[in-house]
């Protein structure tokens, strides 16, 4: 990866001619300085994320958002047997794919090479009526060490923060995209006779254990197959969630989400971290609730 600028191991960090504060005031007074060109961007990057992304050569291009409101209702599949509810699994996967596609389209529109810090959430719009809002929000960025070859490809998406992203690049990896797997599973009911017979005993409910195992395996398998399709070397930051959404106790969704990565250079670069005892107190972040008011 020696295309363009090499911000990672840059040697020419020369002394700054002017104190930053004076340069800053001059910029505000006269508009002087190495300003961003093109479109005015918005981003939900924190200051730390913004300056770390700048350090690896990425420029923010804009806040990108996509949402889709779906009606995903419970489908009757019979009692007894535990089984996957494929129509629901497919509906959930389709809705998430749809918002990811819209996010990528939005990213292309603002001239981004990828989206960092993607938050993929589901809001219950009206739980009683199974209305779900699928939302994806992130910041489109352009540039970076691999800027030239990537422009020809599909923009990447990643749920990694700016800090994670910086470390990933320094360690010699590049993100390929978000990968996810979903499985909606219905846990079967046990018969009354079984239930009566087991009162007062400590027993493992083996069919339940097996059902949960299978649902998780299916979700992870789908995630892995998506990663294989992208040509990934691995998946970082996998999070798994189990939620009943609005289906009550009848069905549970097992959902796995992560970022597929692969080595961009020859091999992994060791960061050699320094041990440190911090002397600072944790700072409270701005509380959005205070802005919105009660």
């Amino acid at each position: 990866m020696s295309t363009g600028r090499e911000p990672l191991d840059r040697q020419d960090r020369g002394p700054v001619a002017e104190a930053p504060a004076d340069a800053a005031i001059a910029c505000l007074r006269e508009g002087r300085g190495e300003r961003h060109e093109g479109r005015v961007f918005s981003s939900d990057l924190s200051v730390d994320e913004a300056i770390l992304l700048k350090e690896v050569g990425y420029e923010p291009r804009g806040l990108v958002m996509a949402s889709a409101i779906y009606h995903v209702g419970y489908t009757f599949t019979g009692l007894g047997q535990s089984s996957e509810i494929t129509t629901l699994s497919e509906a959930m996967a389709q809705a998430r794919n749809e918002v990811t596609h819209r996010l990528i389209a939005d990213c292309r529109q603002v001239g981004g090479d990828g989206v960092v810090g993607v938050r993929l959430t589901i809001d219950m719009f009206e739980p009683a009526r199974h209305l779900m809002e699928f939302v994806a929000i992130g910041t489109a960025v352009a540039g970076g060490p691999g800027a030239l070859p990537r422009r020809q490809r599909r923009p990447f998406t990643s749920d990694l923060s700016g800090q994670d992203f910086y470390l990933l690049q320094r360690a010699g990896y590049e993100p390929l995209g978000l990968v996810m797997g979903s499985c909606v599973y219905r846990v079967g009911r046990q018969g009354l006779g079984q239930w009566m017979g087991r009162q007062g005993q400590n027993v493992e409910l083996v069919p339940f254990t097996q059902a949960f195992y299978q649902a998780r395996e299916l979700a992870m398998e789908r995630l892995q197959s998506q990663a294989r399709q992208l040509g990934a070397e691995g998946v970082v930051g996998v999070t798994t969630t189990e939620r009943g959404h609005a289906w009550g106790s009848r069905a549970i969704e097992f959902f796995a989400l992560g970022t597929a990565v692969r080595l961009s250079g020859e091999e992994h670069r060791n960061l050699r971290p320094t041990m440190a005892v911090p002397l600072d107190d944790p700072l409270p972040a701005t509380d959005p609730r205070a802005i919105r008011g009660g």
Binding site: P7, L8, D9, R10, R13, V16, P20, A21, D22, A24, I25, C27, L28, R29, G31, R32, G33, E34, R35, H36, V40, F41, S42, S43, D44, S46, V47, D48, A50, I51, K54, E55, P60, G62, L63, S67, A68, I69, Y70, H71, G73, L88, A91, F125, E133, Y166, L271, T274, M275, A276, V277, P278, D280, P282, L283, T286, I291, R292, G293, G294
Partner: protein, 358 residues
């Protein structure tokens, strides 16, 4: 604010709310700030303890303050507070923590004093689209019945923007921010750090909102004055890191949008169906709501900076009578300009904290 750009994004929805502008420029303030010309009305001599005024003097002060506020000035007590701070032997105040203060000073700035701006505002009611049309302008769309045959529950759906509400919010914010910026300018500040913009809906009166902006005015000793002090909602440390890495904050910017969804029968029908499908009417409203709000945020930013960082988004859905919903999006961030594209003087050190998780 006369150089406002024409509205973009097609059907007139992306237009700027009138009276909107970057907060620091003081939307509600007359250009020559009459409150500052000549002796301010009802100015009280410095050193007079404010708690010991008799009733008549208190009345006079209140009247003078209202007079000043109406003409874009500051209330008497605020003026007196600033005069006290500037006078010989006056101490500066700040709501910066010790660590923030150290970071601000390390970045080359010095605190001047806490500054505040506030406005209590009543937002008018806007009547329904179904009966009055989009009287206030803004985004609207009509969702006809998809069945193409007459039936009892046939109902046309509407999505429409509450422009009066949006305008009111923007103006109240501008008043609070411009009063804060005026206080900062009075102190000779270059900027205001750690602005907290607070928005409350006091109980009792419908449509009443209060915007308050509080922050610490800072200046760079020896640097030439700025036409408008910068404002940012960043902490002292964040300000230090930002300036140290080649960005300077310009102004706190805001973008809001409120869209009411009056569902048509198409939506009802889809919700009752067994199939799992998308609901285009609300999807569209939510998408437009985000798009318009962020567009407004970027327009505010375009007047002062290169982009916005730290955007916080609050999206809420309020239930209205008769199945209708109000989607409201509130976004806030700090507009920045880049003055140096060079990387940091030294690459950040990778470190492992020897501290237990909290």
């Amino acid at each position: 604010m006369d150089d406002r750009r024409p509205s973009g994004r097609g059907d007139g929805a992306g237009g700027m709310v009138p009276g909107e502008g970057p907060a620091a420029r003081g939307g509600g303030r007359a250009p020559e700030a009459p409150g500052r010309q000549g002796p301010p009305p009802g100015r009280v001599e410095r050193g007079e303890p404010s708690g010991m005024l008799d009733e008549a003097a208190g009345q006079a002060r209140a009247e003078a303050s209202i007079e000043a506020l109406e003409h874009g000035g500051l209330p008497v007590s605020a003026r007196q507070r600033l005069a006290d701070a500037e006078a010989e032997g006056g101490a500066w105040t700040s709501d910066l923590s010790v660590a923030e203060l150290a970071a601000v000073r390390a970045a080359g700035f010095e605190p001047l004093g806490m500054v505040l701006g506030s406005s209590v505002y009543r937002i008018g009611a806007q009547w329904g689209y179904r009966y009055f049309g989009a009287a206030g302008g803004g985004y609207s769309s009509v969702w006809y019945c998809p069945h193409r045959f007459a039936h009892e529950d046939m109902r046309t759906g509407y999505n429409w923007e509450h422009t009066l509400h949006e305008r009111g919010m923007v103006e109240a914010r501008n008043l609070a921010m411009s009063r804060m910026a005026e206080e900062a300018q009075e102190l000779g500040a270059h900027g205001v750090a750690g602005v907290r913009l607070r928005f409350t809906r006091p109980e009792g009166v419908a449509g009443l909102v209060e915007f308050t902006a509080v922050g610490t005015a800072i200046h760079r000793p020896g640097a030439p004055p700025l036409p408008f002090p910068f404002t940012s909602h960043l902490s002292g440390q964040e300000l230090g890191k930002l300036i140290g890495s080649g960005y300077v904050p310009c102004s706190l910017v805001m973008g809001i949008c409120a869209i009411e969804v009056d569902p048509g029968c198409g939506m009802e029908w889809r919700m009752g169906s067994w199939s799992n499908t998308e609901l285009p009417q609300i999807s569209e409203a939510a998408r437009r709501c985000r798009e318009i709000a962020v567009d407004r945020l970027e327009r505010e930013a375009a007047e002062v900076g290169d982009g916005v960082i730290g955007v916080e988004i609050e999206f809420s859905i309020h239930e209205l009578p008769g199945e209708a919903k109000l989607l409201e999006l509130f976004s806030l961030g700090t507009a920045v300009r880049r003055f140096s594209a060079a990387p940091m003087p030294e690459a950040p050190l990778a470190m492992m904290r020897l501290r237990d998780r909290r």
